[in-house]
Amino acid sequence: MAAQSPAAPRLPVNFSTRVDEVSSRARLARFIRVVVVIAVAIIMLIPVTWMTLTAFKSRPDAVAVPPKIFFQPTLEGFVSLLTDRRQLTTEQIAEEQKRTDLTWIDQLALSRGQVITGPSDYPQRLLNSIIVAGVSTVFSVGLGLLSAYSFSRFSIAGAGDLLFFILSTRMLPPVVVTIPLFLMYRALGIYDTHFGLILLYTVFNLSFSVWLLKGFIDEIPREYEEAALVDGYTRLQAFRKIVLPQSLTGIAATTVFCLIFAWNEYAFALMLSADRARTAPPSIPSVLGTGGIESAAIAAGSLGFLIPVVIVTFALRKYLLRGVTFGAIRQ
């Protein structure tokens, strides 16, 4: 702290009063804005919140009328999601209850008259989802980046038609092609393989990623690369050192969109996979299973399904925000 000279003003001068913090109209407007935002956020979050609550409910609580907001949380839903169980007879239950080597998981199952016969295939389905969505996203963004760069920088004969052709692959509703695809996949022997799904999702996302990334790369002035070219770099080195760092926002945005599509895709996965490559979306409803709707297990499954995308999106949010406003700001 420097000693204050007598001439220095008594009051600190580093404050200022903003009009919008004083004017009553501005304050009212801001209040209304905040209320609206909170209301919208609550409406958006209700399903997610309800799903999370349901995941921790016991079976009677999950279907209770009127719905219960306060309840005794239990991991029943997760246990039924992650295990295969067998229903026991009354005598068997009594017999089991005498045993002392039961874990808390076994006891939880037993309290519902069931015995655990092994792990369920949900973890495997989730892993399949991660593999298929992850790999296909890497491919569609990687290939998309290269073709977007080419479309943006080189004069390609019929570039407009080619771009339209790429976009047109998106125009057919997926449902229309599922049956022909199913037949082709079976004939090619890639039915129910990771490769088959990765190939399909990559191709499907490619049109989107080429178009989106081309927009981002168009925004990067080509003088940067030309400067690198005369500075003694090859086209590929210039691409890696100059274009790539500058298109990170676009890459992040495209990655998230491609990942969400591949992650959530249901129809193709249902038709083109059975067991080995089956992803999570078509398998969660199958928990519906025998002996009534396992609402808690479905909610737990959906919750687990939600987490990976949320993590990725959250990790990339810094780039995403800039990516969304990218075209609006000119340097």
Binding site: P221, E223, Y224, E226, A227, A228, L229, V230, D231, G232, Y233, T234, Q237, I242, P245, Q246
Partner: protein, 352 residues
């Protein structure tokens, strides 16, 4: 000794011809300015020399050897762009070091550091080395891009209007610095501009480009005192040259709609265009001609006087401020030995 030679370069973009049969050469240690209005093909010429663009015909020679097949990286040239040439994701230091870190050169990091420090010293940007380039002012950015060129000591510097995005003060000081660097390092520069003052002040030689053709190549004096045609005459000089239609009349030249009678050139043309530089129109009490003052533009160090003479208006430039007022009668003389004659097509008539 010629460093870079262009031989009959022609370049077309679809239907548009950007360059037509362009030939000139830049000598070692020379400051060569390519001058021309927007769209004349100046930038295209630079880009062809750099290898960023491929010509349709003709060839580029470095020390007499064609380099048409070489990639930009292999041509050992430095390019200073008008804008956008600094990498926004890097610091100033990394920007300056970037050309030296090229895999082509494999320069040890210690030497890179030494060279970057030296270049930063010359351009007085040493205090900026740690900054991100987005935080720099326009002048600082352009210094850094010039720095990125001089760290390398290339065969030739190609500069594409590097000063035109700067404000007037900064442009003046960078102009001086650039000239100073060029003279002290005796480097070869091919500088592109549409600004005739930059061309006249900095260059050893000027090439004037118009609609993709070279109109004239010469020293600043050649260009100013012996313009090859009316286009060049009007392009250089501020305020611009007085260009008046005239015809031969009894051994003299009579300027249309005016009392001006001037000595005739020794040619057979009946119709002319007479060019008179404003500084050659001198308001003097015993001047041969008379007119009225239509307007004065005082610029401090000099004043532009618009003199109405019959149907024509002559621009005259007088040193300092003037007492002349609008509407005043004024007598003036025209320096007869400094007149420029052009034929009706605009080509210079060499009178003697």
């Amino acid at each position: 000794m010629s460093n870079v030679t262009l031989q009959q370069i022609t370049k077309r973009f679809r239907q548009v011809t950007a360059l037509e049969d362009v030939s000139f050469s830049v000598n070692h240690g020379e400051f060569f300015v390519l001058l021309g209005p927007t769209g004349a093909g100046k930038t295209t010429t630079l880009r062809i020399i750099a290898g960023l663009e491929k010509q349709d015909a003709g060839s580029v020679l470095f020390d007499g050897t064609p380099v048409d097949g070489l990639m930009p990286a292999d041509r050992d040239i430095a390019f200073v762009f008008q804008q956008y040439s600094l990498y926004p994701t890097m610091t100033v230091y990394d920007n300056l070091a970037f050309p030296l870190r090229s895999p082509l050169r494999k320069m040890p990091e210690a030497e890179i550091k030494e060279r970057v420090t030296r270049a930063a010293d010359i351009l007085r940007i040493s205090h900026l080395l740690d900054r991100k380039t987005a935080r720099l002012s326009g002048g600082e950015m352009q210094r850094v891009s010039i720095g990125r060129a001089i760290v390398r000591e290339p065969r030739i510097y190609l500069m594409d209007e590097p000063l035109s995005n700067l404000d007037a003060k900064l442009r003046e000081s960078l102009r001086v610095e650039l000239q100073h660097i060029q003279k002290t390092q005796s480097s070869t520069i091919l500088f592109v501009t549409h600004d005739q003052i930059e061309a006249l002040t900095m260059s050893d030689r000027i090439g004037v480009l118009r609609e993709g053709r070279i109109v004239q190549v010469g020293t600043p004096n050649d260009i100013y005192d012996r313009p090859a045609d009316t286009f060049v005459a009007q392009l250089v000089g501020s305020p611009r040259i007085n260009l008046l239609p005239a015809r031969r009349d009894n051994g003299t030249v009579l300027v249309q709609d005016s009392p001006l009678h001037l000595p005739a050139p020794k040619t057979t043309h009946a119709q002319f265009l007479v060019g008179i530089r404003p500084e050659d129109v001198k308001p003097v009490p015993d001047g041969a001609f008379s007119g009225t003052v239509a307007l004065t533009e005082p610029l401090g160090v000099e004043t532009i006087v618009h003199i109405r003479a019959g149907g024509q208006t002559l621009l005259s430039i007088v040193p300092g401020l003037t007492d002349l007022r609008i509407g005043d009668e004024v007598r003036y003389s025209v320096a007869p030995e400094r007149l420029h004659y052009f034929d009706p097509e605009g080509m210079r008539i060499t009178s003697s």
